[in-house]
Amino acid sequence: MKLDTDMKLPGPLLAIKATPLTSTVGVSITGCYISDLLSDVLAHAQPGALWVTIQIHRNVVSVAATKDIAAVLFTCGRQPDASVITEAEEEGIVLLTTPLTAYEAAGKLWETGLR
């Protein structure tokens, strides 16, 4: 099963060995934005982007949904509460986590060609 979901991950997420916290079926990312400030994301992230953040509060899901963000990558191995994961599933937003810092993740994502 695990292999199955991994297979469906877009290349950049595979490259940084992100661990999915939600279903990842059909996810595609068209860009990336890194910020821990919600309003900043609302102002500057593009719909369909991957949002890299250290914030794990449920507001992340609300903001992602408001902005039609495709996936959220939590850095430094942070994991949100189960209720946040459930909410993300309901909103159709993919959540992932990585032990990398935002800076390391950004570097690797950039190397895959993700702009």
């Binding site: 309003s39 102002a43 953040t53 507001n59 609300s62 949904a65």
Partner: protein
């Protein structure tokens, strides 16, 4: 029933009546003596007459004299009951002054019912189609108003209003970009009340052509609105900042996403934020 009824006189021969039946494709002929129904000749009588060789007799000699008639004001249900009870193939129909007005058969009733059924079915289909169409129109024309109280410090509820708005606007097939702008204004307005005020209320009215968001709180008010409108300026405390609020971008975000944006506040009182987003065209920038 068939009307006017095909009738014959008592003196007409059964052969004449047989020809009448053939000509009009009917199976029974009332025999009229003046205005009165004197009898009835059925196809069975004709067959018997042919069989027994008295087809040239006058009707009055062979007709059924005890004619059972029904009234023209009887319901179809009662007529059907009479057919069942008597076992006859047809009834002459009389009006209240005993005048013969027609002849009714089971076939008449069946085809009448079929016709009605068909009409009803057509009406039902048309009605349903009209209903569907008007419902669609209503949905588009209807003004939806959401009035949601917002509590201070309720960081866990932030985004509930914008979530409902997204659903509503998606259902109305509003352009995704416009939809996002409405959701952002609602989200920022809600967050502001949660972070900075003693509580308040957000009212959103969605009209066919615009979404109007009014956020009113109970204080303490904004000291310097111009300063608050500057990006990066925030008075948010530690907790909201830790949660990712307090970027100092809420008001500028709202302004940028709105087609009409007004904010009124005094240090002593409430703040009223008014935003309009036109749903039909994308005028704001993101």
């Amino acid at each position: 029933m068939s009307k006017p009824p095909i009738t014959a006189a008592p003196t007409d021969s059964l052969r004449t009546i047989q020809q009448l039946m053939k000509q009009h494709k009917i199976s029974g002929v009332p025999i009229q003596n003046g205005a009165e129904v004197a009898g009835i000749v059925s196809i069975e009588d004709i067959i018997t007459a042919l069989d027994q060789g008295h087809i040239n007799d006058p009707a009055e000699k062979r007709m059924t004299r005890q004619v059972v008639c029904i009234r023209d004001h009887f319901s179809l249900v009662r007529a059907v009951a009479e057919f069942d009870r008597r076992g006859f193939g047809r009834f002459p129909v009389l009006d209240t002054s005993d005048r013969l007005v027609g002849v009714i058969t089971r076939g008449d009733i069946t085809s009448c019912l079929m016709q009605h059924l068909e009409q009803r079915a057509e009406q039902a289909i048309a009605h349903e189609a009209a209903l569907m169409a008007s419902r669609g129109e209503d949905e588009k024309a209807q003004r939806i108003v959401l009035k949601v109280p917002v509590r201070t410090g309720d960081y866990d509820s932030a985004g509930k209003i914008s979530q409902r708005l997204r659903q509503l606007l998606r259902a109305r097939a509003i352009d995704p970009d416009v939809r996002r702008r409405v959701a952002i204004v609602a989200y920022e307005a809600e967050s502001n009340i949660i972070i900075h005020t003693l509580g308040g209320e957000i009212t959103v009215a969605i009209d066919p052509d615009k979404a109007v968001i009014d956020a009113v709180d109970t204080g303490p008010g904004i000291e310097d609105i111009n300063q608050a409108m500057q990006e990066g300026w925030s008075t948010a405390g530690r907790l909201p900042r830790e949660l990712g609020f307090g970027a100092g971008m809420g008001l500028p975000n709202m302004k940028r996403c709105s087609d009409v944006f007004e904010i009124k506040s005094g240090t002593s009182g409430q703040t009223h934020l008014h935003s309009e987003i036109f749903l039909r065209k994308a005028t704001g920038k993101l």
